[in-house]
Symmetry: C2
Subunit: 412 residues, 2 copies
C-alpha cells in the first residue's frame, strides 16, 4: 500500500546561492517535475556551506517533512560538506562505498586524469544509506531514511541532479507515495492584458483553481493544471478558453509567436522581409532565431535615419517632409519598399518613437505605426504604447508579428 501524500522539502546548500539566489535553478526543476507528477512542495530552504547551519536545517527538516530533497555540497572540495553535516545532525558514521570508489577511479582512468584524495571523499556515505548511481559525474547520489523521513542527496551540477532525480528519485517517490493524477495544458496568447483575459475566462468552470497566468512582453502563457476525477480535465478547460477568446491563442503547444509565424509562412510557401525603424532589428532578430528561417526570411532593413528610409527603401522625400517619418504613410511606403527590394511576398514595417527622447505633444513617446504590404495591397495600423524604450520595442515587435500571423491565417 502506498504511503499518504508526503510533505516535501527542498534543501539547497551553497554559499554562492545565498548571496545570489536567482542563480538557483535546481529547485525550479524539482518543483515542476513533482508538480507534474501530482506532488506539491511545502518548504524550500537555502543555506550556506557552514556546517552548523546546514546540520541544523537538516535536523529541522526531519520534524516537518516526509521527503527532503537536498542539492549541492557533494563535490570534492572543502566547501562541500553536506554529507558531513548530515552525519553530524543524526550522529552517523561515514563509511566507504566500495562500488562508488571503483566508479570514480574508473572515470579518472578513462579521462586520463589523476584522481586526488579529495575525490575519494565523494565515495564516503553515511552508515545505513545507499548510493544512487550518477551516470555522468563523480559524486553518487545518496538515499538515507531517518525516523519517518526520506533524505535524498544530489549534486548541485544541474545536469547531474536532473539525471539522478529524473531517473532514480522521482520514479521511487511516485511508486511509494500517494499522489494526484494531474493533467497539464499550456496555452500562449497575445494581444490582451492579463486583467482583460481574467475578466473573460475567470468564470469558466475550473479555471479559478487550475489556471495560472504568466504575463510577459511576448504575450501571456497560461498553465492549466488539474487533478482528480471530479474536476474537468486541463484539456477541456483549455478548449473552453480557446472557444471563449478565439484566435488570440496563438499556440497550445508551447511555441513562440515567431515559430508559429514561421510555420505559417512555410505552409503557405511564402517569404517575408521587414523594414524596421523603432524596433531596431528586433523583429528580424526574433524571426531569424528559428532554425531554418532562411527558407522564408529574405531580408531586413533597419532604416534608422531618414536618409536610409529614402536611399535604401525608396521612401519619397516629400512624403517624409509632409507627414513626418512617424506616420502611417511612411510605414506603408517602408513595407512596400522592403518587399520590392528584397523580392519577398510580404513586407512588414515599423516606425515610431521608442523613447525616452524624441516625443512631442502631437507625436508622443510610444506612438508607433506598422505597415504590411502584399500582392493585394498595403495596410497600416497606428498603435500607442508606453514611456519605456525597451518595453515599447518588445511590445511592438510582438504586435507586428501578430498582425503578420493574422494576415497569414486569412490568406488560406
Amino acid at each position: 500500500m502506498k504511503k499518504k501524500k508526503p510533505v516535501i522539502e527542498i534543501l539547497i546548500a551553497g554559499d554562492e546561492i545565498l548571496s545570489d539566489p536567482v542563480r538557483e535553478k535546481n529547485a525550479q526543476f524539482i518543483a515542476e517535475s513533482l508538480r507534474a507528477a501530482g506532488f506539491d512542495i511545502e518548504f524550500i530552504t537555502i543555506t550556506g556551506d557552514n556546517i552548523h547551519n546546514l546540520s541544523g536545517a537538516l535536523k529541522h527538516s526531519s520534524r516537518r517533512a516526509d521527503i527532503v530533497l537536498v542539492t549541492g555540497g557533494l563535490g570534492p572540495t572543502s566547501d562541500d560538506r553536506t554529507v558531513e553535516a548530515f552525519a553530524a545532525a543524526f550522529g552517523l558514521n561515514l563509511v566507504l562505498h566500495e562500488k562508488s570508489l571503483k566508479r570514480i577511479e574508473a572515470l579518472f582512468r578513462q579521462r586520463n586524469r589523476k584522481m586526488s584524495d579529495s575525490n575519494r571523499k565523494q565515495a564516503m556515505i553515511p552508515e545505513g544509506a545507499s548510493a544512487l548511481e550518477n551516470p555522468i559525474g563523480t559524486a553518487p547520489g545518496i538515499y538515507s531514511h531517518i525516523g519517518h523521513t526520506d533524505y535524498y542527496f544530489m549534486p548541485g551540477v544541474p545536469a547531474e541532479m536532473e539525471k539522478i532525480f529524473g531517473e532514480t528519485i522521482l520514479p521511487k517517490i511516485v511508486s511509494e507515495y500517494e499522489h494526484e493524477e494531474r493533467d497539464i495544458e499550456i496555452l500562449r496568447l497575445t494581444g490582451i492584458t492579463e486583467s482583460e483575459l481574467y475578466d473573460k475566462i475567470g468564470s469558466i468552470g475550473g479555471a479559478k483553481e487550475s489556471v495560472r497566468y504568466y504575463p510577459g512582453l511576448e504575450g501571456i502563457t497560461l498553465k492549466i493544471v488539474t487533478a482528480g476525477q471530479s474536476a474537468p480535465a486541463a484539456k477541456e478547460i483549455g478548449s473552453e478558453i480557446i472557444e471563449t477568446v478565439g484566435d488570440i491563442v496563438f499556440s497550445s503547444a508551447g511555441e513562440s509567436l515567431e515559430e508559429v509565424v514561421g510555420d505559417l509562412l512555410r505552409e503557405r510557401g511564402m517569404t517575408v522581409s521587414a523594414a524596421e525603424s523603432c524596433t531596431g532589428g528586433r523583429i528580424m532578430n526574433r524571426l531569424t532565431k528559428i532554425p531554418g528561417s532562411s527558407d522564408y526570411v529574405l531580408a531586413g532593413v533597419v532604416a534608422y535615419s531618414n536618409e536610409s528610409k529614402r536611399n535604401i527603401l525608396g521612401v519619397d522625400k516629400g512624403m517624409i517632409e509632409t507627414f513626418g517619418a512617424v506616420s502611417a504613410e511612411v510605414a506603408g511606403a517602408m513595407s512596400e519598399g522592403v518587399r520590392r527590394i528584397s523580392g519577398a511576398d510580404i513586407g512588414i514595417s515599423t516606425t515610431g518613437i521608442a523613447g525616452p527622447g524624441g516625443g512631442s505633444a502631437e507625436k508622443p513617446v510610444g506612438l508607433m505605426y506598422t505597415g504590411i504590404s502584399t500582392a493585394k495591397g498595403t495596410e497600416t495600423k497606428k498603435l500607442q504604447f508606453v514611456e519605456d524604450r525597451l518595453i515599447n520595442m518588445g511590445i511592438m515587435s510582438q504586435a507586428v508579428l501578430n498582425i503578420l500571423r493574422y494576415s497569414l491565417i486569412n490568406m488560406r
Copy 2:
C-alpha cells in the same frame, strides 16, 4: 553600542513561489543590498500560504536568527496570512493600527475606489509591533521583536518591498548591528574564457577570496567585494586585474558593450551601419537598445538571401559564386556596401553558418566572417564558434561589437 554581527534569515511566503521559485526576485534584492552593506544572509526559507507551515517556519527562525526578513502575504485576500501566522506562532493578539487604517482609507478616497473590509485587515498588526510606512501601497510594513529576534514584514510586491526595505529597514539594521565595511568593484570583460581569465588573475593578491565570476554570452562580469582593513580594497584588486589583462576589460562601471561602443562613437563624432547575415539583426538590436542611439546608428541590413546581398548591398554576383556567401571576401564587400548605401563612417558585417543546418566539411556550422569598413579601408576576420544557433548568434554579435570597440579606440 552596536550589537554583534547578526544571523539573518529571509522568509518568503506564497504558494506561487513554491511552485515557481525562479519567479522570486525579492530575496536577491535583499541579499545584494545586505551584502553591499556588510552583512551576510545565512538562511532563506520559502513556504506557502498554509498557516501551519508558515507559523512553524516563523517559530523555527526565532531559534536560529537575530533578524528575520519576511516578504509576502500582507495583501487583502484570504491567501494573505503572514500576520495571522506570526500571531499564532507566538500567541499574540492582533490590534487595529489606527494611523495605517486612516492611510488606507485616504488612498482609496484619492483613487476614487471603494474600500473593502478585506483592506481593513491590512491595518491589523500584532500587539507590541510597530507599523513601517509603505509610501506606495496599502499594506504597511511591520516590525516586531520576539526574544532576541527582530522580525520585519514586507509586502511581496517588489516596488513596495524595495521602498520599505531600502528606506526604513536597511538603515535601521545598519545603525543597530556591527557589520564589515565593504568595498565593491565591478569589471566587465570580453574575448576571454572564464578559465583563461582565472589562470591570468587567480594569483593576484586578494583575488581568490574576493572575486566572483559571472560568465555569459555578453562577456564575463567580475564582482570584487572586499571587507576590513587588512585586505587590499576592491578598487586596488580591480586596477591590478586591468593592468594584467589590459583592454579586454571594456567597462569598470557596469556598462554593456553596446553602451561603451555608443559612447565611443559619440565621442569621435562618427556613425555606424551594419550588414548582418548570420547574426540576423542582433547587432542592430543591441546597438539600438541604447537611448539616443539614433545619433550614431544610421542603418542596418539583414541580408539573409544571396539576392538581398546583391540587390541591397551591391555584393558582386561573381564574388558570391567564386568564394561562397560565407567568405572573407563577401564579408568585406557587405561592410563596404552598407557603409556606401547608408553614408555611415563605419560599416560592419557578418556572414556565417549559425546552424543547426547548412554546415559542410569545408564550411562547418559555427564558421563566421566579419568585415569592418572605414575611410581607411576594409579588414576582415574569420571566427569559428560552436554547434548551437543561439549561442553562435550571441557570441558573434559580441565579437563584432568588440572589434568595433577596438577599431574606435585606435582611431583617436
